[in-house]
């Protein structure tokens, strides 16, 4: 029971289908269900959604899968993720050394918008080229299983001095990677920044790109010690037996702990 309830998120994203392959050969089991997909995580000041990102890192680097992560960190240094993921049971430093986790420290990245004369977006072009090069240099068995992760997109906008067009261009380029190499793409963004805007083009564009949209929101009744918030997962790319695509919305509560996150349906906790 506990095992199942902790997998509500994976079920909603579509990560849980590896049990189907259990009988089949190892290669099929290792297939990454998120490949070719864009996952967007949205959160707010009150409720951070970064734990979803951490979960996906852990999941992608788990021994069963043979995924490679390219992580663009705009908000936290490596030591933060390392410490955090170690508590979740994933040794990032070791994964980095073994070439499955590529950490791009973007804390100091400053796009050249600072010197007003230039309009070119050198910082992001450079970054994109680095990502491409990294993927190209991967051994063949990893090439099809790359996840690009961004933490977080709103800080990219700051790095670009507010020219969200540059950021969008970059994200679209990254999106093309999904078709070119079969990558998956995971990004974290803060929704409440855009909630007061009349036409939040940037957010809408992002949401348009996303195949899976995960929203972390505080409870309407305020934060509680045993329920930290609620997740709404919109999964657009579910293929039903008749062959058409349907989207599915799941809604559940979560409680974040050091080494795991509990997911449960509203009211199923006493």
């Amino acid at each position: 029971m506990d095992q199942r309830s902790s997998n509500l998120l994976e079920e909603a994203i579509g990560l849980d289908n590896h049990h189907r392959h259990q009988a089949e050969d190892a290669a099929a089991a290792a297939e990454w269900p998120l490949s070719l997909k864009v996952v967007l995580i949205e959160d707010s000041v009150e409720t951070s959604g970064s734990f979803v990102l951490h979960h996906l890192i852990k999941r992608a680097l788990s021994p069963q899968s043979s995924n490679v992560i390219i992580f663009l960190a705009f908000s936290q240094p490596f030591s933060h993720y390392d410490r955090l993921l170690r508590k979740l049971g994933c040794n990032l430093a070791a994964q980095r050394d073994s070439g499955r986790f590529f950490f791009f420290d973007m804390l100091q990245l400053q796009s050249p918008g600072r010197n007003e004369g230039k309009t070119s977006d050198g910082g992001f072009c450079e970054l994109y080229r680095r990502i491409q090069k990294t993927i190209a240099s991967l051994p063949e068995k990893y090439k099809k299983q790359v996840t690009v992760m961004i933490d977080d997109v709103s800080l990219m906008e700051v790095a670009a001095f507010g020219s969200s067009q540059h950021v969008l261009d970059f994200l679209r380029y990254c999106h093309t990677l999904t078709s070119e190499f079969g990558c998956s793409f995971v990004a974290l963004n803060h929704e409440d920044i855009y909630s007061s805007m009349e036409s939040p083009t940037f957010l809408l564009e992002l949401e348009y790109l996303a195949d899976v949209l995960i929203k972390a929101e505080p409870l309407a009744t305020g934060l509680a010690a045993d329920v930290h918030g609620q997740l709404t997962v919109l999964n657009r790319g579910i293929c039903n037996p008749t062959g058409s695509f349907v989207s599915k919305i799941r809604n559940f509560h979560f409680r974040v702990k050091e080494n795991t996150v509990d997911y449960f349906y509203p009211g199923s906790r006493t």
Binding site: V45, Q76, P77, S79, A93, I193, M197, A225, V256
Partner: protein
Amino acid sequence: MAASKTRTSSFSRNLSSVSSPQTPPGVKCGPNGTFFVSSGIPDLDKILGGGFPLGSLVMVMEDAEAPHHMLLLRNFMSQGLVHNQPLLYASASKDPRGFLGTLPGPSSTKDDKSRNHDVSEQEKGLRIAWQYKKYFSDNQQIDGSRDGKQEFCNDFDLRKPLERHFFSGQRVDCVSIKESSNLNALHNRFSSFLAQFPRNEGSISCAGRIAIQSLCSPQCEFSNKDWDMLSFIRFLKSMLRSANAVAVITFPPSLLSSSFCKRWQHMSDILLSVRAIPDEDKELGQLLTGYQDMVGFLNVHKVSRINTQVPVILEATTFSIKLHRRRFLVLECLNQAPIDGSSGSSYGTSASCSGSSKTSAIDF
């Protein structure tokens, strides 16, 4: 910190905290490999679970009409000076150094622990409390891991100015952000200040403090360049992450557009806001005990989450700011006044509580 240690088990945290208890005065070990410095207000330290973690960015949202954020800022600065930690203070005033003269000094140890929340308590009661003083300090010693003489957190007497010798040294740097038209100069100033406190494996030699008052105030020429300010904050945060320092920024949220205000809030590790209370709000006065001693409210919106993913859920997020004996800053949970026995009034008051827009912002 632990990045270079490749293969360590999950037990490493305990090991490192055991092997590196030699923190300088005013710094103590916290959970998840963090180190705390004190905010200068003992109650705030307690609320935040130990203090401000090194490497964090603290933001205080000001009340546009009241200077309550200055109380937090002054205590934070004084605490650093008392611990002989280098300080960089930036404000939009012409002579930021003059502000140092208004800092509160630590109260003499005689008054120190006699602090009792009930003002009307008799002298006798106080003396009894004094006899327990040694036990109190014992307790603090355990959780504070301080070296006998210097306390992790002092009580500051708001009516006693800080002695000159604390800030006459060269360890205090004052910058006026009014003069600089762009943030590049500030950029360099801050990075050279923070370069003094590189973070290296385990040991901490010294901790620095940065206090910025009203970063987006209209006196600064850059105050209309929203993206410049944001990227400055982002730069500051990334510098802090690799330094043993804490920065406190106060800003008036009403001067920012709401989406930028959210961006600023997302930048912060610890987010507080202060609010004055209206002079004669009878309704509120009836509702809360000790209303006459309150000077304002403090809201805790965000508690730092460095090296962990678990959010800290506080029992209460609104605290009343009180000046105890007009000297000491005290934060207390709000206490709902007992409703007097006259029949029917209980429903009446509770209805007025939920009905009025003023009190609905307060959670009990």
